[in-house]
Amino acid sequence: MAESKIVLPDLPGAEYAPEPPPQGPVVWMKENLFSTPFSVILTIIGGLIAVVSLRGIFGFVANPERIWQAVTTNLRLLMVQAYPDQHMWRVWVSIGVVVVLTALSLAAWRVGGRTSGRKLTGNVMALGGLLAIIGLVADFPFEMNVTWAGIGLALAGLGYMIRRMMGERAKAENIPVLAVAGGLLIGLVASLWVLQVPVPDPDSGIRAATTELLANTTRIPWLLLLITGFVAYGIGIAIRDWKPSRPLLVAGWALSYPVIFLHILRGTRMNNLSEYLLIGLAFLVAGAAIIYALVNLDIGESGRLISGILLIAALVTWATPVLIIIRLLLLILAVFALAAPTFGGSGGSKYRYMGIYAGTVVVMVYLMLLATGTSAVQTQSAVPFGGFMITWLLAIGAVALSFPIGVVLALARTSSLPLFRVMATVYIELVRGVPLITWLLMSVVVFPFLFPEGVEFEDVVKVLLFFTFFSAAYLAENVRGGLQAVSKGQAEASNALGMSTMQRTAFITLPQALRAVIPALVGQVIATFKDTSLVAIVGLFDILLIAKNVVPNQSQPFNFLGSIKENLVVVALVYWIFTFIFSRVSQRIERNLGVGER
């Protein structure tokens, strides 16, 4: 198999595979486009459809009747709605957190291979060719046709010249992909100092009177972010051989959501700081002592008794008016105590387990501090979230929260315990049987009646919860598919080794099931991301609602009446860019995890 490399000279009669015959573009076209009369017809029809579509799309974009300044002047509205001026730094800091985490992760996971000059110039030539074709076929004014075709041809020619100059060296794979990406980013940020866009002028109306730099107010923040990213990447390279760097980054990503949305963007004031810290500290000390006693295996039966009592106590508190943070922390302690004999291990893993408990308590106290605080950012609406910001808030929140729920539901549905199985099945069938729009309307209209008086959620939280529940049901079915794909022999092998059900699930079945369904999970993520546009129905101003209603009707100081087409095109482009990134990242993860499989 893989390790037995065949060394040619040792094998009598072995020969090297012949060099493939040289293939020019003519040969390629003959083989791939015009091989049979039928494929000639298909090629012509397909080509015509492509030409007509390109002509239509780019003619639409370049039509002088388009009011693109409706989008460029309202970019901030589309992105963050009415987020107050004096708090805008919060938005930039949030983006900065993501940039730093991304740069550190790129370094820590050593993302990015090397590419050859041949491939790179090939890409430039393809881009030039595409531009030239668009320039030739698009429904432009004649001068623009010539200009774009010229630019395209020049670009393609430049790529070809560089390849010729590099000669044989072009074949070597020695250009880091990340350096190319970094160069493109630098170019992009530099272009903010050059690109001019038309701006409306109070005297001559919304039709452009003057031009102004694109990103006139945001180019400095973007530049700072770019520099931050490069610095962070450098730091990442310096610390990536330090062993805990990857787990810490994973924790950082997990925490980034509450930190960004609740701490930074909502500007939460922590009103209960001293009280909650005291409670947290008490649980840290008491819990650590209990778990330390439980992982010492000699304790045996009485250990089960202690964790049983803890669990009952935790459940009882939910019926009493104890502070929610105490109920939650007690529940966490009970779960950790129950799982202690299974995952406690010995030696170092004992302390790691206690460390995970301590981390969970700290995070829970932090989250509850944020959840019970009040916002420092005052806007007309109850929550300071709107525009593309709310799209992200809902998409990431729903995906991150629904993932654990979905996995638990899937495990429950495949469980051998009938109670769990029935409950999970009923939940999934109920949630899937009703359209998301209906659930969203109910979240605002019906949901408040399900809770005792005094318990109130902001609209955006209600919507987030329902997105989560909805997404979890679909996710559960995807994961269940993965669980069924894991062969029975895997469970038998782990049983034969004496593993408990929990250990088998955590180490054997679930990891294999999840990696089997990555494509379906990514599909679910993309669907949730796009479904967030439905929140317009309950009056939350996401990017789509702003594009459709606010910009063309109510925007100040210019009213871009009739600019709905332009807005929708840009919103579609924004959605597409992000879903495309998701899908590429998932392909990469799939490839990486596939190493050594079967």
């Binding site: 295996l297 299974t342 050594g596």
Partner: protein, 247 residues
């Protein structure tokens, strides 16, 4: 059957049904410590079901199975306890494809036996040395040949330091040239004094290594005896027919 002092596996009238089909029709036999028992028989005779009942991968419905003095009941803790004392090797290897060879072997010692990681890894490397493939430790199962995978599976079972090893047709899924490397490991194991129950079609192995041969048909033991007796002087007609077909 009387229970001897050294009997580590005791089976009394074990019966097992799959729906209406009776797979085991009353199996009674004991296995002594350090004994190597080879189970042969035509396919569908219940020999695999029998060996899988010993560590309760299948549940018998009637009769008694006791392993190392503990009776097999529905008590989960008893079952996990016994399973950690009984190693099993499967026809299809059943290695964990998402873990490296080393992780495959150390997973159960670390989490079930609660051994420190470095100690478990040392043990695993020793076992890989014993089955002859220490250089594969950091590869994934999919990168190994069938024979190598089966040897890893044996090492994985041995890492739990079991008292008994069960082999369920360990060479049936292998190419002929790889069968020998697995049988050699099993022979070495038998010589080291391991108690083994082996379901196999390798008559050469049975003749050479077994202390006792059980011939299964119709879900029960039709004939048993030393390899000597079994291959040279079988008594039962069914046994004679089976041997004439395969030898």
């Amino acid at each position: 059957m009387a229970i001897g002092e050294n009997d580590i596996i005791v089976c009394e009238g074990v019966k097992k049904w799959f729906g209406d089909f009776q797979a085991l029709t009353g199996v009674t036999t004991n296995v002594k410590e350090r004994e190597v028992v080879v189970v042969i028989g035509p396919s569908g005779s219940g020999k695999s079901t029998f060996i899988r009942c010993i560590n309760r991968l299948e549940q018998h419905q009637e009769g008694v199975i006791a392993v190392d003095g503990v009776e097999m009941t529905n008590d989960l803790r008893n079952i996990e306890q016994i399973r950690s004392e009984v190693g099993m090797v499967f026809q299809q290897f059943n290695l964990f494809p998402h873990l490296t060879i080393l992780d495959n072997i150390t997973l159960a010692p670390i989490w079930v036996r609660k051994r420190p990681k470095d100690e478990a890894e040392e043990l695993a490397m020793g076992l890989l040395q014993r089955v002859g493939i220490p250089e594969q430790a950091n590869k994934y199962p999919g990168q190994l040949s069938g024979g190598q995978q089966q040897r890893v599976a044996i090492a994985r079972a041995l890492a739990m330091e079991p008292k008994i090893m069960l082999f369920d047709e360990p060479t049936s899924a292998l190419d002929p040239e790889m069968i020998k490397e697995v049988l050699d490991v099993m022979k070495e194991l038998a010589e080291s004094g391991m108690t083994m129950v082996v379901v196999t079609h390798e008559m050469g192995f049975a003749r050479e290594v077994a202390d006792r041969v059980l011939f299964f048909d119709y879900g029960t033991i039709v004939e048993e005896g030393t390899p000597e007796h079994f291959f040279t002087n079988p008594q039962h007609d069914r046994t004679k027919l089976f041997l004439s077909q395969i030898l």
